[in-house]
Amino acid sequence: MEGINFTENRSLVALLAAILPLFSFVFILSSKKGGGASVALSTITLSFLLSMYLFLQIWNLEPEHKQISWFIIGNVQFYAGVLLNNLSVLMMVLVTGISVLVHIYSREYMKNDPNIHRYWAYLGLFCFSMLGLVISDSLLLIYLFWELVGFSSYLLIGFWFSKHTASQAAKKAFIMNRIGDLGFLTGIMIIYTKFQTLDLHSLFGEGGLISTSTFESNFWISGSQQMPAIWLSIAGFAFFLGAMAKSAQFPLHTWLPDAMEGPTSVSSLIHAATMVAAGVFLIARIYPVFDPLVLDVMVWIGAFTAFMAATIALTQNDIKRILAYSTISQLGFMVMALGIGAYSESIFHLTTHAFFKCLLFLAAGSVIHQLHHYCVRNSHDFDYQDIRLMGGLRKRMPIAFWGMCIASAALVGLPLTSGFLSKDSILISAFEWAAAREGIFIVLPWLMVLTSWLTAFYIFRLIFKVFFSESREIKTDKMMQISDSPGQMTYVLLILSFFCTFIVFSVNPATFEASWLWKGFQVTSIKEISIFHWLAPLILNLGAFALILITYSIYVPGREPKLMQDTWLYRISNREWFFNEIYNFVLIRSIEKLSLLTYGFDRIIIDGIVNRMAALTQTISVISDWFDRKIIDGLVNSTGSLSRYIGRFFRNFQSGRLQHYLTTMLLVVLSFFILSYLI
């Protein structure tokens, strides 16, 4: 096995794992159209195997850090290298594992797309950039891959670019991410100014520059360097802004629902499982840089995002949009967990969420796929993503149904699922954090509990509407045409369903402390077992069960409460809290006003000056024209006419008359005489 040769140099293995998808990207783009599936799948599988190998080599063992000199600016040397620790290898396995599954799924799902080779190429590019992001050891490299991830996301959202909404969504995502990238770049610049290095290990590692820097009377001191303390907060906010855009947190979240215009498999891989987790990953990677102020802001933004997204998801009708808001909500959970210091809980939830959200999307994709085929076959046109039009698919698509049920249970945090462990760990941490701090902070855990209850409502609303009751569009006799998706897609659902159970993460289904993954990140292993450890899951699950029953009673018989649709609460939720409208109003309008103002300024002042200048120039040119015409031309013309007059005068002598000639001749002779006589 050649892996043995790499034992001493695990960095090379990581590098190889990252480069393989890039190779696939280049190879597929340069080869002929229509193919690429086998290349993409084989490279990503190889990459996954290498990642697994690395995971086994590094997890809970010695971290690996190898770097080479990249370039030198002035006296400062930049390094590029690979940093492999628990977080890196976990993310590597997560990214490549889910990628492999999505690749398998996509082979069937995207089978008939004419631009399929482009799809595989973009997936390769995405995997490359995501893996690069995960293993990079320098902020600069991370930033580079961060941009690449955003770019490949842009390409994949706009994959069906001939569709107007898709290209618009791609642009929106790109621009929103650009705002975040600006924050990220600002953070990098502050850090570089402060420490003259961008190396992750020396900055954020054990005894790194950040942890050894101290504060002294409002000054942030590290070695001989010192700058006002506020800069640390600003750097924290800047990095957080980058993470906010990537992880779709509250003010910058609107791109993610629109990103659902891409293929469902892409939504599953990028906009549910991996890329949106990059923001959380970034926060985790540079965690020491955040000071308490930034962490508090992070808590509230995360909590608010989670709550807001959950309320919006309540009333959405597009199956993918519901899942997108659910993703935003869960990302809010993770960010909030990071904010309260529940680092390992957050990563734990990131991992479990990746699996169950991927499963949700793929199951939804399966439903969409089958309904789309039904539409094509029966030339029956309806919006096959609208859950109001679906129904009764439970019998026809049992695997999708059960897969979705398991994933939903995990999402809500019902017992025996992975979500129970991770989500409850976050809630418990939130309760403990609130208990440690008095006052208003007690609202936070209850807000999270409420959000979780809402989660239960909206996800089961989706399930009941799609899989129970009757479809409005599909006649019962034609229902027989619909069945579970072809083999490969179903197997993927089954595998993912397995990963949504507690078994994978912990032998004990009741407490998250037993989870190997949680332990992998827990620095201080001993934690006080408080009352919340059994109280929080209890409250959560009781409420969740109650809500599921209520949901069942409402949606299964199809008794949708029409009255509710008239309330303003419903409207806020359905219109997604009017964020698009607010942005439209506040930003676009104000920009329009500003541009009107600048237009006016341009018109009146600039154009005025320009016009004055033009008039001045015109006057000058009129004068110079006059001068030219009268003086210069006058001189020229007078010279001309003078010579003409002279010519005409002399022409008179050439009259053709002999007597004139003679006269002239005699005059000359006379003149000669007179001259010689006088002189």
């Binding site: 007597q659 006269t663 005699l666 005059l667 006379l670 005489f673 006589y677």
Partner: protein
């Protein structure tokens, strides 16, 4: 003043006045006859220069040749020519003043030069032998013609023949002019 001077100045005045009349006169026939008067007077002046043969030749050639030629030229040519020879227009034209001016200026220059020159003191005149009144100048001319001036004489005779032929050719009636 002796009678020689009186006769000389009479003829001199005759020459100048008749010449002036010839030039100024509008009637062509009259001016041609006055032209004879002045030519004869001029021949008289040649006699005072002791050139009797020249005076004779002047009378013969001009009176017998030129005058007759002129008169015959008019008379032999058609009526229109004679009509057109009638005076056209009246009096002096503007360009007459230019002619008068130029002529007077020339006269002034010539007179100035003649007056300024001391003609009697010329070198070649001191050494030369003047013609005596009693000399037979015709004899002398005959000798000179056949000796020193034989070549010009012969050339002149050929030339005269050419002129005769040329004039006859030019004056040919209905010829291609």
């Amino acid at each position: 003043m002796g009678e020689e001077q009186i006769i000389f100045y009479f003829f001199a005045a005759s020459v100048l006045i008749s010449a002036l009349c010839v030039v100024v006169m509008k009637n062509l026939v009259r001016s041609i006859f006055l032209f004879f008067v002045s030519l004869f007077s001029l021949a008289a002046l040649y006699l005072f220069a002791l050139a009797d043969f020249i005076a004779l030749a002047q009378v013969v050639i001009y009176a017998g040749g030129v005058l007759v030629l002129m008169l015959f030229a008019f008379m032999l040519s058609n009526r229109e020519l004679l009509n057109s020879l009638k005076p056209a227009g009246s009096g002096f034209k503007v360009n007459h003043f230019a002619g008068i001016l130029i002529s007077l200026l020339f006269l002034f220059i010539l007179v100035t030069v003649i007056v300024k020159t001391d003609l009697n003191q010329l070198d070649w005149m001191q050494e030369s032998v003047p013609i005596h009144v009693n000399d037979n100048s015709t004899h002398q001319i005959g000798i000179h013609t056949m000796t020193a001036y034989l070549l010009p004489f012969e050339i002149l005779s050929v030339f005269l023949m050419m002129v005769l032929i040329g004039a006859a050719h030019l004056a040919r009636k209905g010829g291609r002019a």
